[in-house]
């Protein structure tokens, strides 16, 4: 019980101060700006062709919005522990009743709530879009927004895990950029190799492609961004089972990464 109160206190302080930070709103509105741009292109093309090409016209802009918010959140959670380590404020908390568990779950809640507030803004934005265009605010969009909460949870727990491993803000950012960059590079490389006909590839390249498919499959379970695309896809596929399964995956993923983070923090300690 006391652990929860500690967590709540940590959460409250952190959340309120994060809400005052400018970067948060910049990220949200940057994502709306990009989505608006995509939507405008989309509407222009409808105007020309006079046909609706997608049953979920708002889902792709939502995906882009989510990716931008996720990038912001993954950095935010990725530096949240290392920053307190670097500045020494972490140490002071641990003179008292704070433990790695209460600290990390407090951070998790804070970042997830920031994500949910951003999703709130997103819902309002898409509602306004639906008022001004003939693109409807469909049930599919509501489902996608609900799914997004779980997907952001993956993003946050992944960021916290990286942060638990690093002692300084700079190393956290470098680690995040390196890891996410590597994920992206492998995905692009794999897609490029898939583009070739099997017959046109030399034998060594076939092995490379095979190896990459394993790596790619591995990454698709580790990268929070893979969960993001899979989760949103499940909405478009209109498969309730898949929808629930993806939520389940996201919950398990978050728990695993949070437990790993607590473990690492216990091992690594609170000093930079």
């Amino acid at each position: 019980m006391r652990t929860f109160r500690v967590m709540k206190t940590l959460f409250k302080r952190d959340f309120l101060y994060s809400l005052y930070s400018l970067g948060y709103y910049v990220a949200i509105f940057a994502s709306f700006f990009v989505s608006s741009f995509i939507l405008k292109n989309f509407l222009d093309s409808i105007g020309e062709e006079d046909i609706l090409v997608s049953a979920y016209p708002l889902n792709y802009p939502l995906y882009i919005t989510l990716v931008i918010i996720s990038l912001y959140l993954v950095i935010l959670s990725g530096i949240s522990i290392s920053r307190e380590r670097e500045q020494g404020t972490l140490e002071v908390l641990f003179y008292g009743p704070v433990t790695p568990g209460s600290f990390l779950w407090g951070k998790y809640l804070k970042d997830l709530c920031l994500g949910m507030v951003a999703l709130g803004f997103t819902a309002v934005y898409f509602y306004l879009v639906s008022l001004f265009t003939n693109l409807g605010f469909t049930l599919g969009l509501v489902k996608a927004l609900i799914m997004s909460v779980f997907l952001l949870s993956c993003v946050v727990s992944f960021g916290l895990f990286i942060s638990s491993l690093t002692g300084r803000i700079r190393s956290s950012v470098l680690a995040l950029v390196a890891i996410l960059g590597a994920f992206l590079a492998i995905q692009l490389g794999y897609n490029a190799l898939l583009g070739f006909e099997k017959e046109s590839l030399s034998v060594p390249m076939l092995y490379v492609r095979q190896a990459m498919s394993y790596v790619f499959r591995g990454i698709s379970w580790i990268s929070p961004f893979a969960y993001l695309s899979r989760g949103l896809d499940s909405v478009v596929l209109e498969n309730p089972f898949l929808y629930v399964v993806n939520i389940g995956y996201a919950v398990v993923y978050s728990l695993v990464f949070m437990f790993l983070s607590v473990y690492v923090m216990n091992k690594k300690g609170v000093k930079a």
Binding site: R5, T89, E91, Y95, G96, P97, V270
Partner: protein, 315 residues
């Protein structure tokens, strides 16, 4: 309240704390003395469980220290060597936050009391980023006392303060001790804790040199006569035979200069010059070095003279 058993910390093979055995009893104001780099902060961090010892044990409030034992930590207050704050918070917000963490009842009244006691009442709404080092130190004090801890652990608490503030903090420590709080306070200056502490431990290079009452330590520190001697020839060869003399506590040799620390039961000058003469040296000058308590403390830590061994020998 605190006990360490053979506490040792190595950093890449370097022993920052070496087989340390301390014992702090309830009600003590216990001074933990040693020059910079002696291993004081490292010891304190191990006592708090924030860095794991290489070997040895810590008992805190009667229990062996376990990771994340928050129930024990709720009963201690800590002021660290360097202060770390959330710079965007005001003093009041900061203390309210910690008050909530420690579940302090009537937290606002307690904050008023403490800000008054440390003299920060008028700065309570200032952002901590704008606090001076001294103000930060005092605020850390208020934070450490917020939850009425049984044990206060203070790492060089007055190092950054002006004389008035030092007196303020010292009075505060004494007041808290009178109310039954045990205090463990580290310092690199003997004079800082001389009037405050009833008991002291002196460490250097991670090793305990002495643990005794302040009075005994003072007596022992001034209980040594320091002789500066100039000899007719290089005295390096004397080392082993000098250490065998029963009235010599310690010495340093530098060329033909010799500094010898003598016992004080009687005047050993004659014995010493006779000894030197027999070894083939002539004494050119011999003079007694006057030392304040602080100088004696510095000498003893620099030269690692083990008062501890001697204390046990006398007992």
């Amino acid at each position: 309240m605190i006990q360490t058993v053979n506490l040792t910390k190595e950093f890449n093979g370097f022993k920052a704390v070496d087989n340390l055995n301390l014992r702090v009893e309830k009600g003590d104001i216990y001074g933990f003395l040693g020059p910079n780099g002696a291993g004081k902060t490292t010891t304190i961090m191990m006592i708090l469980g924030l860095i794991p010892p290489t070997s040895g044990k810590v008992f805190l409030l009667g229990e062996e220290l376990k990771p994340n034992n928050v129930e024990v930590k709720r009963r201690i207050g800590v002021v660290s060597e360097n202060q770390y704050f959330y710079k965007e918070m005001t003093a009041e917000e900061y203390l309210t936050f910690f008050g909530e963490l420690y579940e302090v009842p009537n937290v606002h009244r307690r904050i008023d009391e403490l800000l008054e006691a440390v003299g920060l009442r008028n700065d309570r709404n200032k952002k901590l980023g704008a606090y001076s080092k001294g103000m930060q130190q005092k605020l850390a004090f208020a934070r450490a006392l917020l939850h009425d801890p049984e044990l206060l652990i203070l790492d060089e608490p007055v190092a950054n303060l002006d004389p008035t503030s030092i007196k303020q903090i010292r009075d505060l420590i004494e007041e808290e001790n009178r109310r039954g709080r045990t205090v463990f306070v580290s310092s690199h200056l003997l004079s800082e804790v001389e009037r405050l502490c009833k008991k002291v431990a002196i460490i250097n290079r991670g090793k305990l040199l002495a643990e005794d009452t302040m009075d005994n330590i003072k007596r022992r520190l001034t209980d040594t006569i320091h002789m500066e001697i100039e000899l007719s020839a290089n005295a390096e060869s004397l080392s082993t035979s000098l250490s065998e003399l029963p009235f010599v506590k310690g010495f340093t040799v530098e060329g033909n200069r010799l500094e010898v620390h003598l016992k004080t039961e009687r005047d050993y000058r004659l014995d010493l010059s006779r000894f030197l003469y027999e070894k083939g040296f002539l004494v050119l000058t011999m003079k007694t070095k006057e030392m304040s308590l602080e100088e004696a403390f510095i000498t003893i830590t620099q030269q690692n003279i083990s008062l501890l061994a001697q204390g046990e020998g006398n007992a």
